[in-house]
């Protein structure tokens, strides 16, 4: 009983504090042109009630987290048979994993024919972000280098297609590999000066690099048409045929879907290759890995280059999908969005990136009803996610090498 009173008291104090805190911005609304002041006292009451309730939950959740309990126990809502099922282990079982994957693949293939053009277009965007996420994941998740300038490579890809088409009439299928390779070269270009930098210094230089690219695109009128951008970029053609808009939308969806599978395939193979293990070793301890024979310079450069490769490819798709590019599409926000996908989904995990991209892209789309509030909610979700589940939705399972102890001891007794 005493405890409950104490909790209420704490919530009351928090609520009073928030009422004080939000007072000038929530309550007073000034119009500086006509010099009118509106007092919106009702807002204060909302803030008070809302923060009172939220602070109660907040403290409860923090306590649960400290105790190490599950924050929300979903198994309560499941039938008893499923309750003790470990999802990860079940999926690792090939017998179950295969049909599940095939069903997902079929669903993805059928989706554009069932859903409308609008839905297909949104889903294409989500697929594009999956590729971006997987690409950036090479640099951040595997290489452990905080990269805040990913949008620059995305821009390089998009502008490659836009400018090559405008000046030389080059088509989508030629631009796709060209954009990717050009972005890769840019990745190396950025890689060289930052080889010596670590952590936050690296973050700010990559950010600066992206801003330089964007500002140059914005101001170099002869080259990139400045802030007004380049319009009338053709959608991809089907063996030289121009497709009507609904078919073209489905076509782009299919191309992106195919590229998603290609990316997943390549990234998976990379992860388990010598290079992938070198990236992870470098992330854990650069000096130790160097002394074990990992060449840090080339390892870092390949991480940057291969990360940029995917961004360039998606850039070309972006240009083809929207038929218009301008520098405003490649701001820091875009880099941060991709970063959020990785962190939300679970760093280093491929499944995590896919889930993260779907949430980050689709959630705001379907929250359009609250479109005014969606960025606000988005920020709040990021903070809550980090506070209560910092390792992301799907945590990466690290490779484990197990040694059978009984075998070792029996080996010893034989001598």
């Amino acid at each position: 009983m005493n405890n409950a009173v104490q909790e209420l008291k704490k919530s009351l104090i928090t609520s009073l504090w928030f009422m004080f805190l939000t007072f000038p911005i929530m309550v007073i609304r000034v119009n500086t042109v006509e010099n009118i002041i509106r007092w919106r006292w009702s807002n204060m009451i909302f803030v008070g009630i809302f923060s009172f309730v939220m602070s109660y939950f907040w403290r409860g959740m923090l306590k649960k987290k400290e105790r190490g309990d599950k924050l929300v126990d979903f198994s309560r809502f499941m039938p008893s048979k499923l309750r003790n099922l470990d999802i990860r282990e079940t999926l690792a079982d090939k017998k179950i994993a295969k049909p599940v994957l095939i069903i997902l693949l079929l669903a993805a293939l059928v989706f554009p024919f069932v859903a409308g053009m609008y839905q297909t277009s949104i889903m294409t965007t989500a697929l594009m972000y999956i590729i971006l996420g997987l690409g950036l994941n090479i640099v951040i998740g595997l290489g452990g280098m905080l990269h805040l300038g990913y949008a620059a490579f995305y821009a390089v890809g998009a502008y490659t297609y836009a400018i090559l088409h405008r000046d030389f009439g080059i088509g989508f299928w030629v631009a796709l590999p060209l954009g990717a390779v050009l972005a890769m070269l840019f990745g190396m270009l950025l890689g060289f000066p930052v080889l010596r930098l670590k952590g936050d210094y690296l973050a700010i230089v990559t950010l600066g690099f992206a801003e330089i690219v964007r500002i140059v695109l914005e101001n170099w009128n002869d080259f990139s048409s400045g802030p007004s951008g380049i319009a009338n970029i053709p959608r991809p053609s089907f063996f030289g045929m121009k497709l009507p808009l609904p078919t073209a939308t489905i076509y782009i969806y299919m191309i992106t879907l195919a590229l998603v599978f290609f990316t997943i395939f390549v990234v998976r193979r990379l992860e388990n290759s010598r290079l992938g293990r070198a990236w992870e070793a470098m992330r854990e301890d650069a000096i130790a890995s160097e002394s074990m024979g990992v060449n840090i310079t080339t390892t870092k450069l390949t991480a940057f280059a291969l990360g940029a490769f995917w961004a360039g490819m998606v850039g070309v798709i972006f240009a083809a999908k929207t038929t218009f590019v301008n520098p405003a599409s490649f701001t820091l926000m875009e880099s941060v969005l991709v970063l959020c996908i990785i962190v939300l989904g679970g760093m280093g995990s491929t499944t995590g990136v896919i889930v993260g991209a779907l949430i980050i892209v689709l959630l705001p789309e379907y929250l359009r009803a609250f479109s005014e509030y969606r960025m606000l909610l988005y920020g709040a979700v990021l903070v809550l996610m980090m506070v209560f589940r910092p390792n992301g939705i799907i945590q990466k399972v690290r490779k484990r090498y197990t040694v059978d102890i009984s075998e070792l001891s029996s080996g010893g007794s034989n001598e």
Binding site: W17, F20, L21, T22, P24, I25, M26, I28, R29, V30, T32, V33, N35, I37, N43, L62, K65, I140, L146, P193, R196, L197, K198, G199, D200, Y201, A203, I204, V205, L207, G208, F209, E211, I212, I215, V216, E218, N219, I287, A288, L332, V336, L339, C340, V343, M347, E372, Y373, M375, L376, Y378, G379, A380, V381, L382, V383, M385, M386, V387, P390
Partner: protein, 302 residues
């Protein structure tokens, strides 16, 4: 390329530098203590400017003299910004202090979105004009062409804040505790320093300085909107890194280098590429001094 133009550019560079310094100090102090890039620091600056604008507009209608309004608005802005800073720390950063560093950064980015959109929704997306509060000083009549009274106020206030901060860090008990915490958190805890309190105070001081910067630059530029914190925050962060993040004199030096570079670059080369100069000088300095101008290069223990 006459002399007057040069002086004018230098002064405007110094003005920018002063404002960057006020914000960059908050970044660098927070970084020095908990190694976090407080991405939402620019938003605290924006909230300071907004609070001052609201209070000043309300007070202006009562017919108070401009200087009094300015001082009261400034004090209230400082109080509110500090309150926001401390609340933000306890909500978004304290619970992730032990998690990996990237989580804290994402949490900060989330906080930045949240605060931006909070002001956007509660106020407006339009630019609001900031009331003219600083009167024209009589002694500046002769040099009016290149030095405004707002600039004089900016220089004076920045200087006072810097001296105050130096005094606080060097000679007070809390300053000593802050330096100890920055050096070694565990050891500081062992000798009886209340780390949570020190971190809260750091956020408080940093936010207060950001608010001062916000009010000053708003009265200089004359208009604000919810987005001003973003670019200012990034620039100040660049300044802090330029000087060597974690170092207080470094942040001030970096800010002035950045302010002057931008001012001269815009004045003599092209104003379109103003932001590019900031980032180019950053990249150049970091290539030759990877830990910033005054930062100490850390050697790794093996």
């Amino acid at each position: 390329m006459n002399l007057e133009y040069l002086i004018q550019l230098t002064l405007s560079g110094m003005t920018r530098g002063s404002i960057y310094a006020l914000i960059a100090l908050g970044y660098t102090m927070v970084y020095g203590i908990i190694q976090l890039i407080n991405f939402a620091h620019g938003e605290i600056y924006m909230i300071g400017a907004f609070t001052a604008l609201i209070i000043a507009t309300v007070l202006n209608m009562t017919g108070m003299p401009g200087v009094a309004v300015f001082i009261i608005a400034m004090i209230i802005a400082v109080v509110y910004s500090s309150a926001y800073g401390v609340t933000m720390e306890s909500m978004a950063y304290k619970p992730v202090r032990r998690a990996q560093r990237l989580s804290a950064l994402i949490s900060a980015i989330g906080m930045s979105f949240f605060l931006q959109n909070y002001v956007l929704l509660a106020q407006t997306s339009d630019f609001l004009s900031f009331p003219k509060l600083i009167p024209r000083f009589a002694f500046l009549e002769g040099s009016r062409n290149f030095l405004t009274s707002t600039q004089v106020v900016i220089f004076a206030v920045t200087a006072v804040v810097m001296v105050g901060l130096t005094f606080l860090i060097k000679f007070t008990k809390i300053g000593k505790a802050m330096r100890a915490t920055a050096q070694d958190k565990t050891m500081a805890l062992l000798v009886g320093i209340n780390i949570n309190q020190v971190i809260a105070v750091t956020f408080l001081i940093g936010s207060a300085m950001a608010a001062v910067g916000g009010v000053l630059i708003s009265s200089h530029v004359g208009q604000i909107n919810f987005y001003i914190g973003f670019l200012a925050g990034i620039k100040a962060f660049v300044a802090a890194v330029l000087g060597g993040i974690g170092s207080i004199p470094g942040a001030v030096l970096g800010s002035f280098v950045l302010g002057l570079t931008e001012s001269f670059g815009a004045g003599y080369i092209s104003s379109d590429y103003e932001d590019v100069f900031a980032f180019i000088i950053l990249v150049l300095i970091l290539i030759f001094r990877p830990a910033g101008l005054l930062g100490r290069a850390q050697s790794d223990k093996i």
